[in-house]
Amino acid sequence: MSSTEHTVDAHVHRDDVGSRMGMWLFLFTELLLFGGMFLIYSVYRFEYPEAFHLAAKELNTIMGAFNTAVLLTSSMTMALSIVAIQRNQKTLSIIMQLITIFLAIFFLVNKYFEWTAKFHHGIYPGSEELLSKGSGEILFFGLYYVMTGLHGLHVIVGMFLIAVMTRMTRREIITKDNYVRLENAGLYWHLVDIIWIFLFPLFYLIA
């Protein structure tokens, strides 16, 4: 958006600590964004503990556990890609980033099948099947779709972010001496991961 002549020293002058600080502040806002939803979840679970327990039985724990493993692995490959670039192994770093993206796609495909299976059973917002259930179950599935949906949106954003990083690594904009962007993308990816770590037990394991 900006021109090179228009930019000031703050651009030319690199401040990795500053960039990382900005990223952490952004992550705080993301945590609070999800925090609001976790708060709503805890209030309703407190209000309807039994309905939540029953509704959770409808979820496929094995698929959820599998997806957890996929995301955890992707966090590892992301971290490895940063280590690789620190050691000046450009190709390895790119491969690790591509694996991360692949795992993210894998996660989403899995999620897609999970959601469509629910749809086939008639469980989706506003469906007759769901509305015939009690308030607690309506709320549980409402939160399930919204929270995993918003998380899925973050996975997509993260994928794009990593794809941009891969391109930058290939063009040697991200190098051994200047990898703060990749690090920040990694931080974002770990956030996406850690949110899932909380979503998984709260929705799948309370049955």
């Binding site: 958006m1 900006s2 021109s3 090179t4 002549e5 228009h6 930019t7 000031v8 020293d9 703050a10 651009h11 401040d15 600590v17 500053g18 600080m21 900005g22 502040l25 952004f26 705080f28 806002t29 993301e30 609070l32 964004l33 999800f34 925090g35 609001g36 939803m37 708060l39 709503i40 209030v43 309703y44 209000e47 309807y48 917002p125 506003g126 509305l131 009690g134 308030s135 607690g136 309506i138 709320l139 409402g142 939160l143 779709y145 919204v146």
Partner: protein
């Protein structure tokens, strides 16, 4: 602020930021600029336009209320107008107001930096602001009509009404994002870009208040973001979250709404307090009294202010313990605010006060904010709150704080930094006349609302009982006086940007902070060389010595 004079060079050849030519020229040179000063001006222009729209709605509301019954609009229109007035004034004027305009313009200069930490994100936040503003305006024009929920979007009405609530929600969401980006930028800027030697306690006080504000922006705004998003999802897809028909809890919505919207009140007022702390020492020629107390009270306000939200909800049904705790915390918040007021007054004491326009606005701020603040404490008392809840008393209270406080603080800042921003001076006499119109009009407009509220006039009603007629009439007259003052002020400033008396003097007010040591208007990168800071801000030694001698004799 004493700085090695040699470090702040100006060769007089460097073009000012207004004349600076980058890759783009003309309008593009502005809307694609990442210069924090130009972004500040962009905000000033767009903010003023939305402010005028908000004022127009306000005046129309007052006109409707001049007599009982339908005067110029029907009830539905009135509902939409007060909603738009609220949404525009809160999300497009008072929340972004001081940080986005003056924070952008002076914060980097005050800490001796060449720009903010993330200049491109800074520009992006302006675009988000404009998009959010346009969404709000578009909602007026589209079929369905503007939202009629009030700026609070309370459930369940906000999921049931057929008006364009979605657009208003997305507008508020986008504006929230813009606010977060500004906050994120300022926190990082203050941490990373202070000039060498500028320790935390050598920062000017407005930097402290902008810094505290920025933290609240970063930490509180996401909550409203997700809450409004959930309302939108609920409207759009019928997902059960807050709607009681689907088992949801509308009071939970109110909690989440106020978890942001109460701290937001401090996002609005803190920067104005910073401006006051900046202007008072300059126009009373005294070192600020109780620097550390003012600095820490900003942080304390940000902290306590985040824990008092439920005092907006004393009548919705809450446990007695909850009410007691929130009532207590509400009163505690008054302490740091009072600390500030006492320190300002102590700074004025024995100062050689110059009643220039910025100082007039600041004194009005202290007066109006004290009234607004003390009535706020009244509402924090549970028994009183049940009497005045949702009455004009509340309306009067928050207009005293938000308009009398933040609004007047904004005008003070505008008159204070105007010559630095544009290198021109406004007509000082006209500015003072406009001030008096604003001050008198303000009180005539809002003070009767305290009385009406105490007598039981509910807010947001488009009609009223005949006994309120004299007060309503007086209040409407007040709105005309206020608008006359506003128009005078705007004419004066607008006219002076191009035709005002040229100012080249660096330090027109005799200020001690860094912005008064650089060129007027500043050069593109503010400083040729980053200054070295050696002493505290606000050094008015000469004056202090005279005072001490007087004391001795």
């Amino acid at each position: 602020m004493a700085v090695e004079s040699a470090t702040i060079k100006s060769n007089g050849h460097e073009p000012s930021y207004l004349e600076y030519k980058g890759k783009h020229t003309g309008l593009l040179g502005w809307i694609l600029s990442t210069d924090h000063k130009r972004i500040g001006i962009l905000y000033l222009v767009s903010l003023s336009i939305f402010f005028l729209v908000g004022v127009t709605f306000g005046v129309l509301m007052r006109l409707e209320l001049i007599a009982p019954g339908e005067t110029i609009m029907d009830a539905q229109t009135y509902n939409s107008i007060f909603t738009l007035h609220g949404v525009i004034m809160i999300f497009l004027f008072v929340v972004p107001g001081l940080p986005a305009v003056f924070g952008n313009f002076v914060l980097p200069i005050l800490i001796g930096a060449k720009d903010v930490a993330f200049p491109r994100i800074n520009l992006m936040s302006w675009y988000m602001y404009v998009i959010g503003g346009l969404l709000a305006v578009v909602s007026i024009l589209l079929p369905g009509g503007p939202a009629d929920t009030g700026w609070t979007f309370y459930i369940p009405y906000s999921v049931r009404t057929n008006t364009n609530v979605m657009l208003a929600l997305f507008a508020a969401f986008t504006l929230g994002f813009s606010s977060i980006l500004t906050g994120l930028n300022f926190v990082t800027t203050v941490h990373r870009l202070r000039a060498p030697g500028m320790t935390w306690f050598k920062m000017p006080l407005s930097v402290w208040s902008l810094y505290s504000t920025a933290w609240v922006q970063v930490l509180a705004t996401p909550i409203i973001g997700i809450t409004l998003l959930l309302v939108a999802i609920e409207r759009w897809l019928g997902v059960g979250i807050f709607d009681p028909a689907l088992g949801g809890d509308p009071i939970l919505y109110q909690h989440l709404f106020w978890i942001y919207s109460h701290p937001a009140v401090y996002i609005m007022i803190l920067p104005a307090m910073g401006v006051v702390s900046e202007i008072i020492p300059v126009f009373s020629r005294r070192t600020i009294f109780g620097y550390k107390f003012i600095a820490f009270s900003s942080v304390a306000i940000a902290l306590f202010g985040s824990l008092v939200w439920a005092h907006h909800m004393f009548t919705v049904g809450m446990s007695n313990t909850g009410q007691f705790i929130f009532s207590l915390l509400t009163m505690l918040v008054a302490i740091p605010s009072a600390i500030k007021v006492f320190n300002w007054v102590a700074t004025l004491y024995k100062g050689s006060i110059e009643l220039a326009t910025p100082m007039l606005f600041v004194l009005a701020f202290i007066f109006l904010f004290t009234i607004g603040g003390l009535t706020g404490v009244m509402q924090g008392i549970l028994t009183v709150d049940i009497q005045v809840h949702d009455t004009y008393f509340i309306v009067a209270h928050f207009h005293y704080v938000m308009f009398g406080g933040t609004g007047f603080g904004f005008f003070a800042a505008l008159h204070y930094w105007f010559p630095k921003m544009f290198g021109r001076m406004y007509n000082r006499k006209l500015a003072k006349v406009a001030f008096w119109f604003l001050f008198v009009g303000f009180n005539v407009l809002y003070f009767p609302m305290f009385i009406m509220g105490w007598l039981g006039m509910p807010r947001r009603y488009y009609d009223y009982l005949p006994e309120f007629e004299p007060y309503q009439f007086l209040s409407t007259i007040g709105s005309w006086i206020l608008v006359t003052g506003l128009l005078m002020m705007i004419y004066n400033l607008y006219h002076s940007v191009k035709k005002g008396e040229v100012v080249t003097e660096k330090n027109i007010w005799g200020g001690e902070t860094l912005e008064w040591q650089i060129d007027t208007p500043p050069i593109h990168e503010n400083f040729l060389d980053i200054p070295k800071i050696e002493t505290d801000p606000y050094q008015y030694k000469g004056n202090e010595e005279v005072l001490e001698k007087e004391e001795v004799s």
